[in-house]
Symmetry: C2
Subunit: 529 residues, 2 copies
């Protein structure tokens, strides 16, 4: 569309000083788009970071109600340009309009949820321990603790979620809710979509009186931009969704800085699914349909794609396999988001097929992207670490185990995962608790009788998992707790009430739940407590 | 004492397979103690880690009430051998009996606080989002999230706190509360004190039916033991209190592992103190007494020692300086914990004295350890990064600023700190809020009209700070939140009620505060919610 300028958004300013350009690609048409994007140059990078750093104090101090308004206005401004966003999104990703609309709604929902959280002040829970001047041998001081923003955060957009995990995605929204300025490194595969969203954020920032520099959006194709941002001394944390190689490199880079900073990287997963015999016996066909759909959903381009299925050998498994093959071979897939992703998919498919013991059960070229189903014996899987390679696309590997014991060994042998699913008939089955316990040690989310694709956005969702699913198993980018990643605690000792942040004042003016002398309460604290 | 064996505690077993030995040192007598300590060999290290790994599942699943009993029994068992602990502590550290008793009481208090926290189940706050099967376009699943232990944790004892930050200190107690087995690397300067405490932990573990391997205590002088533990693939996190070089090295080592793990290192600080003119004018003498005492407390061997004082030049400051000099020169110090610490102290004192612009105001050799007070002009301080060197011992540097503006620049120029203190007369002073804001960006705890030494153990205490005070500003080793360091979230999606951990069951059998559909409540959830 004509109003894509291919520029950097640097605070409130649009900038185009770089002299290197790239085009995005339309995978449905098989040709590049009309969107010519300038790469950010060094001066622009420096300017964005310095502005963010300068904006930090004002943004941190303005109170969470104003930040909530900013987040809501971003959602409103994005909604105004829905048609444009969806059009550019579809052009640059080849994903269907339904998916674009769904992802847009999710993204708006996320922004509004974080706004509500900021507005309610429910960010961490303030801790207060009141003084006891008569305590022996020495007086007990008054101590009050609350989270304060870390400072400028860099967010890396994800290739497979142009909206929900990109420019105005969960990392950006949660960092704003925490009070941190954000510099987004737009994903080069959907740079124009990113620009459209970035403009909406910019309009929202200006309308709601945010400080200049609270948001910048920089474009670049190679690793250089991301490295410069991660290494910049004014940057205080990084959020990343993408490949293992990328996340790992950023994490190591960040730990070598003069001042190390946290990198929260979500790096993908093969999402094991355990089928207990009862389920295959009673509803094998149903689960084959469900899983064929989950494996091929969105052309398999989800980090929650079920790339690994485990079951004990037997008639039940044979029936399920047959049914799964039928369903998968009847599925017609669309193209992948970008030829690069298709190329990686084919490379990794081939790599996995070549792992000793792996047998190709299905290689279907019904649609534009081939669908593949492989299988391997449990004992071979245990011997071949490379059988755990993630094949990002519509592919899955079935591990056939000799026994329940071997199945548990296979689970114990797995690398860290975002999710693990268990499919069964009755909650009273003898093996169920055991499988849940073993699987629970390897994953961030345990799914009962469902598919891993589909990440509900809510407080109780954990979207993360033991390494290599995430760089730090303790954090995820989805849900209310994602805000805590961007905060550090600050304790106030014997601080006069007037000088405390509102969250910690005696009167509890924000009406927060607080932990006061070991008890959770909304009550105010008497002035001379 | 005769019952120090100089052995490793490996699970329930006492082991002495190493063939290298070292003695601890009595700094008061100036000679080595009778305690000959064996260093752990490779086989013993491996055994301890494997046992811890094996114990992980049972310890995680046993329920927090039983872990609470374990923690309380550790305190009880330590109390039984109070006399022995205090005697060996004083021998190995040269610290007075009063300090030993005080630190022991603090340590017992910490253990009992973490026990109470575990018993109440108040560890993280469980999140529950109930299902909505009628939601369109798709049903909303039931999601419930709770913290699960990371697995074996390695704790490095601190040289300057043989009890409160060592074998049964805050890192160990909080990891037990979280459900993680602990392997302590005993600090070599007080290895026999460590053994005495380790025996008490072992007795408590056996009495309360803990799994073998829930605790091990390994001894070693060099870096080798700590490196092997940090790099072992079964180790899932590290707690450390000590030097910057040590903490940094462990952090980088941990980030290069095949599976990176978090290292929570608290690495010291120079704890800036800002004196506003009003305070120096009205109560200069009082504050000089307070600070002379704080600088020399415990021969300055605290990470909260006030190593930096800032004030604007003038008559008030001159009077304060004079008074501080008088008080400091009248203070007679004891010996340091170990000749190595004294040697480092003297080296760093000399290094700081040689920084351009630094002037030695006092070098007092009244006691066994020299007391030193230096001063520097604000403009020189701003030019010399090395003026921020931590001198671990009874020493402080006074920065004389030309103006309030320069003082703020000096604050902005500071590295991350554990604490920052502000001394003033009235909360209505014009500069106070500004100083608090600037100082608040650099520190983990802001102290009003007090001294930084003395760390109250409570939920609202944050003992940590921006790098280099800690490797991760978001966490500290003191207070209830220290437990969260050792947990990762696990979400359960559509899990039958019986199969959920107690914290997440509908009936709320542990009577926990929970975040249910966005509201904090103790209420049970109706069965078909």
């Amino acid at each position: 569309m004509s109003n894509i300028k291919g520029i950097q958004q640097i605070g409130f300013k649009q900038s185009q000083e770089g002299t290197t350009y790239f085009h995005t690609y339309n995978p449905v048409e098989g040709s590049q788009t009309a969107y010519r994007i300038a790469e950010a140059n060094e001066k622009e990078i420096e300017e964005a970071v310095q502005l963010a750093s300068k904006a930090s104090a004002e943004f941190a101090n303005m109170g969470s109600a104003k930040r909530a308004q900013f987040l809501e206005t971003i959602a409103d401004e994005m909604q105004v340009v829905t048609d444009q966003i969806v059009q550019v999104y579809c052009e640059e990703s080849g994903l269907p309009e339904g998916r674009a609309n769904g992802e847009l709604n999710r993204t708006l929902g996320q922004l509004r949820k974080y706004a509500a959280q900021a507005r309610s002040g429910r960010i961490g829970i303030p801790r207060i321990d009141t003084a006891d001047v008569n305590r022996q041998p020495q007086a007990k001081p008054d101590l009050r603790k609350v989270g304060v923003p870390l400072g400028p955060v860099v967010v890396f957009g994800a290739s497979n979620f142009p909206l929900a995990y990109s420019t105005a995605g969960g990392d950006t929204a949660s960092a704003f809710a925490a009070g941190c300025p954000v510099i987004v490194k737009g994903h080069p595969l959907h740079a124009a979509t990113g620009e459209t969203v970035a403009s909406a954020i910019d309009r929202a920032a200006q309308k709601t009186g945010m400080p200049d520099g609270v948001f910048s959006h920089l474009q670049g194709q190679g690793h250089d931009l991301g490295q410069k941002l991660t290494q910049h001394e004014q940057v205080k944390a990084v959020g990343f969704t993408g490949s293992h190689a990328g996340g790992r490199a950023l994490m190591e880079m960040a730990s070598k800085r003069a001042e190390p900073i946290p990198v929260f990287a979500e790096m993908g997963s093969i999402n094991p699914v355990v089928f207990l015999p009862s389920a295959l016996h009673n509803r094998g066909q149903y689960w084959a349909e469900q899983y064929a759909a989950s494996i091929t959903l969105g052309v398999g381009q989800f980090c929650t794609n079920p790339g690994l299925m485990l079951a004990v050998k037997g008639e039940e498994l044979d029936g399920f396999k047959k049914s799964l093959l039928q369903n998968l071979s009847a599925t017609s897939t669309a193209c992948m988001i970008h030829p690069k992703l298709a190329e990686n998919y084919n490379k990794n498919r081939q790599f996995l097929s070549d792992v000793p013991g792996v047998e190709v059960l299905l290689y279907s070229v019904e649609g534009e992207t081939p669908v593949q189903l492989n299988c391997i014996q449990g004992e071979d899987f245990l011997r071949q670490r490379s059988a755990q390679t993630e094949v990002f696309g519509p592919s899955s590997l079935l591990v056939e185990c000799q026994s329940q014991e071997e199945l548990l060994s296979v689970i114990d042998h797995l690398e860290g995962q975002l999710t693990g699913s268990i499919i069964y008939e009755s909650k009273d089955e003898s093996d169920l608790a055991l499988v849940q316990e073993h699987l629970g040690r390897r994953v961030g989310r345990l799914i009962h009788n469902g598919v891993p694709t589909g990440v509900e956005v809510c407080d109780a969702m954990h979207h993360g998992g033991p390494y290599p699913a995430s760089t730090d198993a303790r954090f995820g980018a989805v849900g209310g707790d994602a805000v805590d990643r961007w905060l550090r605690p600050l304790s106030y000792q014997n601080c006069p009430n007037d000088l405390l942040p509102a969250a910690l004042q005696n009167e509890n003016p924000l009406n927060l739940l607080r932990l006061v002398d070991g008890e959770y309460t909304h009550n105010a604290i008497p002035p001379n407590a």
